[in-house]
């Protein structure tokens, strides 16, 4: 062994590494596929991100420091918020969500800042004389918020949170009750979704002409789940729909249902 020349020895070492690399290659690829199936290592590191974060930022992201970089940019976005630099905030949010597409919090708060804070600020912008342009800017920020949530959902389709947030945005900011109902219904379909989302879906459906019956069925299903669902708002909405849909009196929920006493304990004969 000691007789080996330095060059020959190094060449053999490189060959040994190459053979080991070839043996490990299928394993590495399989591990990558398994990781991606489990939602790991799926964030894209491409040229568009390179343009957003600059060369050194891209190098940091490539070197395994994606999450800390996103955290620092988030702090930067927070500073931009304090200075009400909405445009810069939107850009930073874009970068942060590209770096960490599986962090729901980033999508959620980015959308909230755009659709609520930035849109209101645009509407109250005293520098802009034209009311028409102020209104246009308000709508653009709401659309931006919606876009964050829709992209967030694309990246995280297995979680109820962003569907719920999209439902709230569509309900309160866009006033598209049909789309809001669908978004809430989708959120409610997740087993870990809180109870109230199912009620929200039905309330929104009740506002859409032609979907009242669907809303009524949903609310009734919730009502039959027991007293834990008997919120005053739910009972009031059922009674309102009973009147609107002309439900026969014997199929309506008992009047005492609201208090949870008397005959309310028994299910209505629907």
């Amino acid at each position: 062994m000691s007789g080996l020349s330095s060059l020959r020895r190094n060449l053999i070492a490189i060959l040994m590494l190459a053979v080991a690399g070839a043996v490990l290659l299928p394993w590495e690829r399989e591990l990558q596929r398994d990781s991606q199936a489990a939602h790991f290592r799926t964030a894209p590191l491409n040229l568009s991100l390179r343009e957003q974060i600059g060369q050194s930022g891209f190098l940091a992201a490539l070197s395994g420091f994606r999450a800390p970089l996103a955290a620092f940019l988030w702090i930067d976005a927070h500073s931009a918020w304090e200075k009400t630099e909405w445009g810069r905030m939107a850009g930073l949010f874009n970068t942060v969500t590209t770096l960490q597409p599986h962090t729901l919090l980033y999508w959620d708060i980015a959308a909230w800042h755009m659709a609520w804070n930035a849109s209101i600020a645009a509407l109250q912008d005293t520098k802009q004389q034209s009311e028409l342009l102020r209104e246009r800017a308000r709508r653009q920020y709401i659309d931006l918020g919606r876009d964050f949530l829709e992209r967030g959902i694309k990246n995280n389709p297995d979680n109820y949170l962003l569907y719920e947030r999209l439902g709230i945005l569509l309900r309160d900011k866009v006033e598209d009750h049909n789309a809001a109902a669908d978004s809430f219904a989708k959120a409610a379909s997740f087993p870990d979704a809180p109870n109230y989302i199912g009620r929200f879906a039905a309330y929104e459906m009740a506002k859409v002409p032609g979907r009242e019956h669907e809303a009524y069925e949903r609310l009734l299903t919730l009502y039959h789940q027991g007293k834990k669902q008997w919120m005053p708002s739910l009972l009031a909405k059922i009674r309102e729909l009973e009147k609107r849909l002309n439900i026969p009196p014997d199929q309506r929920i008992p009047e005492t249902g609201a208090t949870g006493t008397g005959s309310a304990g028994s299910s209505p004969s629907h």
């Binding site: 070492a13 490990l24 070197s63 395994g64 970089l69």
Partner: protein, 291 residues
């Protein structure tokens, strides 16, 4: 049997000495900086919502752990052989009945102990800060939130969910595995290096290339419309460098992705195999090196 025991004893002795040497080099100042980063970061983040605060705390702390462990692994290992050669300590050691592979394994063991101790200290500090901030958020919520006991319980559960997750432990373990892999790679580089600086530069380059290995590998494997020289270059990168992106799971763990134990153990095993391969090649080179 006796020979094996003697080998183990020698490796252990070299490992212990290496660890002591490294600690005396004040590498632990890195840990102090880390502590300040985490604690300072936590105080600064007080103005965020609790979800944001925990997210930032975990992102920055695990990121800092990754940086310091990688730096520590490269810097501590790169100087071991050149310094022993410069001090001529290596001749004293190898003139005794110590095999060269035992010497290298002892050196690697010393760095592994250093990395493990560092991970434990940094991990404990991070978990303490997280625990402290969690308890502060819980206390604030209990004081400020009215409403029904159910609502309060739901809010407290939300805070606990946002703060600690058991997946943080495997996330830290994988950072340690990556550090050990890097130290083994640096040890291999230092067996052909003539100076510590050279070993540091080559290992740091290997670190960056290792993070790009997956891109080169997939480009090479796709084989579509690429020139032969590009094919050779990407094959060179894919075969000679480890896929270091495989060890960057903490980003997604902090984002809330659940780590399947199968992936965790496979990643640990991949790290162990790489470490063994680099150590074996380092031994091959070192055995025939003229000192």
């Amino acid at each position: 049997m006796t020979q094996a025991l003697l080998t183990l004893t020698r490796i252990q002795a070299i490992g212990r000495n290496t660890f002591t040497e490294l600690v005396r080099q004040k590498v632990f100042y890195f840990l102090l900086i880390f502590g300040l980063v985490v604690i300072g970061n936590s105080a600064f983040l007080a103005k965020f919502s609790f979800q944001e605060e925990f997210q930032m705390l975990k992102d920055v702390s695990l990121g800092a752990m990754s940086v310091f462990l990688s730096l520590l692994a490269i810097l501590a290992t790169a100087t071991l052989l050149p310094r022993d050669l410069e001090d001529r300590t290596i001749f004293t050691i190898l003139s005794k009945p110590v095999q060269r592979f035992e010497y290298l394994l002892g050196k690697l063991l010393g760095v592994i102990i250093l990395l493990t101790v560092s991970t434990l200290i940094m991990g404990l500090l991070f978990l303490c800060v997280l625990f402290l901030r969690e308890n502060m958020a819980l206390a604030e919520t209990r004081l400020s939130l009215g409403g029904s006991p159910q609502e309060l319980a739901a809010a407290l559960a939300e805070i606990k969910k946002a703060a600690f997750s058991w997946d943080l432990i495997p996330a830290m373990a994988i950072l340690l595995v990556k550090g050990i892999l890097l130290s083994s790679l640096t040890l291999l580089v230092s067996t052909v290096a003539t100076s510590g600086i050279f070993a540091i530069l080559v290992s740091a380059s290997a670190y960056f290339i290792g993070h790009l290995q997956v891109t080169a590998r997939e480009y090479w494997m796709s084989g579509i419309g690429i020139h032969w020289w590009t094919r050779i270059f990407t094959a060179f990168v894919a075969l000679l460098f480890p896929d270091l992106q495989a060890f960057n799971l903490s980003d997604d763990i902090v984002a809330g992705t659940t780590l399947p134990m199968g992936i965790f153990w496979q990643t640990v095993a991949l790290g162990a195999v790489y470490t063994t391969v680099y150590y074996a090649v380092a031994c091959f080179i070192f055995e025939s090196r003229e000192l």
